[in-house]
Every structure is written in structure tokens, then in C-alpha cells.
Amino acid sequence: MTNAPDQNQMKTEALIVGGGLVGLTLALALAKGGLKSVVIDMLDPAQVTDAGFDGRVSAIAFANCRMFRVLGIWERLASKAQPINDIVVSDSRGPRATGKGGASPFFLHFDHKEIGNEPLGHLIENRHIRIAQQAAVEAEPLITLIAPQTVPHVDFADDGVTATLGDGSIVQAAVCYACDGRGSRTRDAQGIKTISWGYNQTGIVTTVEHERPHDGVAQEYFMPVGPFAILPMTGNRSSLVWTEPTDLAPAFMALDDAAFAEEVANRFGDFLGQTKPVGPRWSYPLTLQLAREYVRPRLALVGDAAHGIHPIAGQGLNLGLRDVAVLAEIATDTARVGLDIGNIQSLKTYERWRRFDNVALAAGTDVLTKLFSNDIAPVRLARDIGLGIVNEIPPLRRLFMRHAGGGLALGGEKNLPRLLRGEVL
């Protein structure tokens, strides 16, 4: 609470509020385009890489892996990444299903060999991504990371933005990128409204050790209570994500280790031998939230601040990273022709480019959730047939994979941002 802001004034090009997975990727991408940024995050960088902080894993789509490669994140991460070679989606109780419902005869199989040599994606623990990003940021002179620090106020004027930080210091920039997540204060302070839906579902996440190797196969099951996924991690480990009605979730979270292990074993099945939960468990309520506007003069919302989708298809972070690829390209191209990166026209270009993709995926996962989260016979038949049909038609399946992998753009690959094609800015 010092009151000598003049002693602490910084001038930069981009102010990034929020130094999470999306914010740091954005800073690195801008730096590749020669743009300076100041990133402010409220959390201590050492704390967020601790194993206890965020137990989640992310399935990074292949196009985003390409971007990580270009940004120098991948080289620091490769040994921690488990390639996903196949994804098996089915409407059943699991590989060794027992009990009511039984295994459905229809399932969907995505094999990466159908679309090329790249794996469909990589499964990486979030904390490893954070560690790699922080190292890359440290090596980048164009980025200044200020954390832990808050941003109580951002003033938007015709000729620039001025942020007042928690300690009274001032950061001036041409543009502010809000990467401060679902509950974005930057977004709310500007009066940008959001639309949201709750699913009354909570996702429970834990890591499971198993006897036999998973061979890089991800399994996704659609259960009446909600989706359930087994995602291959490095070694004989998998990340287990399952959903429960929100009112039941606390009971699962409160179970003792032995009882929880039994619940996990019931869901996981024994197709990989004996299982054992390792490490802590987490729970996250599932909601869908979309901002009505992505941009204002000198402001762009990025990642979850713009769109928080149901994590059913593991696409939340991937969408945020695609925002980054597009925004960094537009900012770079704008700066390179000597124009102001905060100008509303170039920000509108970002909004138009991203909105279609984000809304399509949000709507898609919303429909999937509703379709799969019930056990009414005709709906069940319809979804079984739906999956069966996609499986029978290879072009449709390849289309699904490309979209999930982030390698699909309206009008073909040439409309993908350069970073998602694995090219430099």
C-alpha cells in the first residue's frame, strides 16, 4: 500500500491480467511476434506448480502441441507428455461393464493413424505445463511477470489502458488482455455480461495407478449420470474424470481412502489389472458460460474469461489456446504494419474468428451432455446409433478428430492461425 506510484510506473505494449495456462501462453506467443507484455497474476508462481495446487491434467490437442513447440514450451515438457494414440468412446459402463445397462454394442473409435502421424493429442499434468511455461517466460526478455499481485483497477482511455496494481504501482499499455478465468474481474468491471447454464453435475478427478500399460488409449464412456473418462498419463498411470450429480459429489469427496478406492475400481474396471488411486482428489462443478462480447476498445477476453465450456470433451483449455493463437497472430500482424494493437477493428477480427468455433463447441458439448446424461430408451438408442454412424463413416470420424485436435478451420487448413499450423509468427 505505498502511495508513490510515480516511482513505479511501467510502460508496455500488452497488459495481460491473469498468468495461468492461457495468459502465459499468450505472453510467449506475443513475444515471438516481437511484442512486449506485462503479466500480472494474483498467485505465487511457486505455489501454482506445487502438486497439491491443481491436480488436473489436460489433453492438449495436436494443433496446440504444435504451438507449444513453436513457443519453446514443448522442449521443456516433452518427457512429461503422454501421447494419445487412440480414443475409444462408448456408451456403456466401461470395458468390463457389469450391472444395469450393460455394454452398448455401439462405440466410436478414433485412431490417430487415420489423420496422419501426429498423436491426437498429449495428456499432460497442468502443473508440468505451468513449470515449462514459467521457465520459458523467464528466458524471454520481452515478458515481465509480476506475481503475486492483484489488479484492482484498469482504466480504459482512447489512447491506452492504465492499470493500478495492488501495491499502487502503475502499468500503461496499448491493450489489456483479460486471461483471468471464468470469474474474470476485468470482464465484470467493464460490464460485459455472460450467459451461463449449470448442469447440476460435478466432475471428480483423481489419478489412478494400474498394473498394465494403457498403450496411449483414452477411454470415454457416457453414463446416465454424466461422462466418465480414463485418460492415459505417463507410466502406468491414468487420470480418471467422472461426473456425479452435484448433490452427491460431496459424499464421494468425503469417503475414506479405502472406500474411495473401491468406488474408483468399480468405475475403472479391471481391464488394466488392479487399480489404486494415488494422490489427492479434486471436484469441480460443471457449468457453461459464454461472454456476450469478447472485445471492447483496448480490451479482449481470452480463454475461460470469454467462454467456459463443459469439460466433457476436454476442450476447455484447448479453446483458450486457440484464442491465443489467433489473438497473437492478429496483434503481431497489426503491430508489424505500424498500427495500434488496441484498436477495436483488429480486436473485432479476433472476436469474429474465434466466436464461431467457441460457440459451436460449447453448443456441441451442451447437446452431448444432455443427450448422454439420461437413460430414456429412445434417447439411448438414438445416441448409440449416432455413435455407430460416426464410426461407420471414416470421413466423418476424421472430421471429428480434426476438430477435437484443433486442426480444423472453416474453409480449410489455410484458415488456421499460423501457430496452430506449427509455423512461426
Binding site: 497489426t334 503491430a335 504494419v337 505500424g338 484498436n343 477495436i344 477493428q345 483488429s346 512461426v424
Partner: protein, 252 residues
């Protein structure tokens, strides 16, 4: 026509500065009166940058690829082109026949901390002192001049041998009349009525014929088209309405 070009800094009048500052704010408001120019700016700047980088062998990925190039911006208006070209590293001299525009542009450049040699002048007056530029930018000018042949001849004169000229203008076609005059001025109201007179629009062949006698080698025109769905301009093959042309001057 030789008018004294006085620098603003020599006769500082706060009221005058406030007036030009307000005018500059109007010129530079992306959704204001000059919105169509702001929308057009990225595509023409991108074209200028790419053309000059290729021609002078500059690195496309730097922020200042035009470093050290002497550029003349004709008909600079509020400086919408001069400022970004200066940021790309060029040494810009900019002329406009309207004194008000020059003072507006100068005020804005001062606010931005950019050094641009703004002159209230015509290219004909400027040519009297025989300056030599690496690049002459003739963006959205030729459709407003009285004598295209004389004007382009003078522009060629102030270009160094081996220098390059970029021209952007409107074609004299029925489509251009329909879109650029009826559409932009009367239907959409983007531009004030009377901004353009279709009979003054210039065909690419006329530009070619005006330039070749002066040792210039004009290249085929490149179209610029508006996409109403995305509200953006893009380079295209359609040269019937807006187009750009590049011409280099023979010599080293």
C-alpha cells in the same frame, strides 16, 4: 502557389492546438467519420510492407523493416498512413494540399511522439527543390487530381532511380460507380456525398500510359475487395473497383 510552410512549434497558440487536436481525434477515431479509411488501412499497409520488403530485400518479421527508407506520402490527410509507415522505420515526408490536414496530422504526430516531415504543399511545389525518395505512396489520390498525366509525371520525377511507387485508386467501371459512389456515399453513407466523381476514376491502363514515358515500369494491378460479412478488405483478383499498382523506376 508557393506558400510558406511554417512549423507549428514556432507559433504556439493554445486555441489552435486544441482545435487541431479535436480534428486529429476525429481523424483517428476508428468508428468515427473516417471509419472507412481505418477499415481500409490494414490491407493497404500490409500490401505496402510486403511490397517494399520484397523489393528492398528487408526482413518481413521485424517491427521496423522499412528502416532508413525515404518515403513520400502524397495526400496524407490526418496522417493515417504516414504514422504507421514511420513506425515501420521509414523516414516519411508527407504533403497535403489542405493546410488544415497538415496541422491536424502534425498535432497528432506530436502527441504520438513521431517524427514526420509534414508539409503544406503539392507534389508539384515539392518537386521544385528536386527531392529524391526511395518510395512514393500515392494512396487514394489520383482519382482526385485535375491532370493525372502531369501529376504522375511529377511523382516519377521525385523518385530515385531504382525507387518504387505504390498507387491505390478506383477504377472507372460501372461496378465502381455502383459500389464506390452509389453504394458508399448514398446507400451506406460511409463517405460524404460528393467525395468521389466517377468520371475522375482512373483505369489501370491510363496509369500505365502516364508512367511509362517517365522511365517507370508499372506492374499489373491487384484488386482490393470488401467482404461485407466480415467487414474487412482483402486483396483479390477483382480490379473493377478498388485496385493497387506498383511501378518501379528504371535505374540502379
Amino acid at each position: 502557389m508557393a506558400k510558406a510552410t511554417e512549423k507549428l512549434s514556432t507559433t504556439v497558440d493554445p486555441d489552435e492546438i486544441a482545435k487541431f487536436s479535436a480534428l486529429a481525434a476525429e481523424w483517428w477515431d476508428p468508428s468515427g467519420k473516417f471509419a472507412p479509411l481505418h477499415k481500409f488501412n490494414p490491407v493497404r499497409l500490409g500490401f505496402i510492407r510486403k511490397t517494399l520488403c520484397e523489393y528492398f530485400g528487408r526482413d518481413m518479421t521485424t517491427r521496423t523493416p522499412l528502416k532508413g527508407l525515404g518515403v513520400l506520402d502524397i495526400g496524407c490527410g490526418g496522417g493515417l498512413l504516414s504514422e504507421p509507415v514511420t513506425r515501420m522505420g521509414a523516414l516519411v515526408t508527407a504533403v497535403d494540399a489542405a493546410e488544415r490536414n497538415i496541422q491536424t496530422a502534425q498535432t497528432h504526430a506530436n502527441e504520438q511522439g513521431l517524427e514526420i516531415d509534414y508539409r503544406h504543399s503539392t507534389v508539384e511545389d515539392l518537386a521544385l527543390s528536386n527531392p529524391q525518395f526511395d518510395v512514393v505512396l500515392n494512396m487514394e489520390v489520383v482519382e482526385h487530381v485535375a491532370d493525372v498525366n502531369l501529376f504522375l509525371g511529377t511523382c516519377a520525377q521525385v523518385l530515385k532511380p531504382g525507387g518504387i511507387m505504390i498507387i491505390a485508386t478506383l477504377n472507372r467501371t460501372a461496378k465502381a460507380f455502383a459500389l464506390a459512389v452509389v453504394g458508399a456515399e448514398y446507400v451506406l453513407g460511409w463517405l460524404p456525398r460528393g467525395t468521389h466523381h466517377a468520371d475522375k476514376f482512373v483505369r489501370p491502363g491510363e496509369i500505365r500510359d502516364a508512367l511509362t514515358p517517365h522511365g517507370m515500369e508499372p506492374q499489373p494491378p491487384i484488386g482490393v475487395s470488401y467482404n461485407p460479412l466480415t467487414d474487412t478488405w482483402k486483396l483479390s483478383r477483382d480490379t473493377a473497383v478498388n485496385y493497387m499498382m506498383v511501378a518501379q523506376k528504371a535505374g540502379n
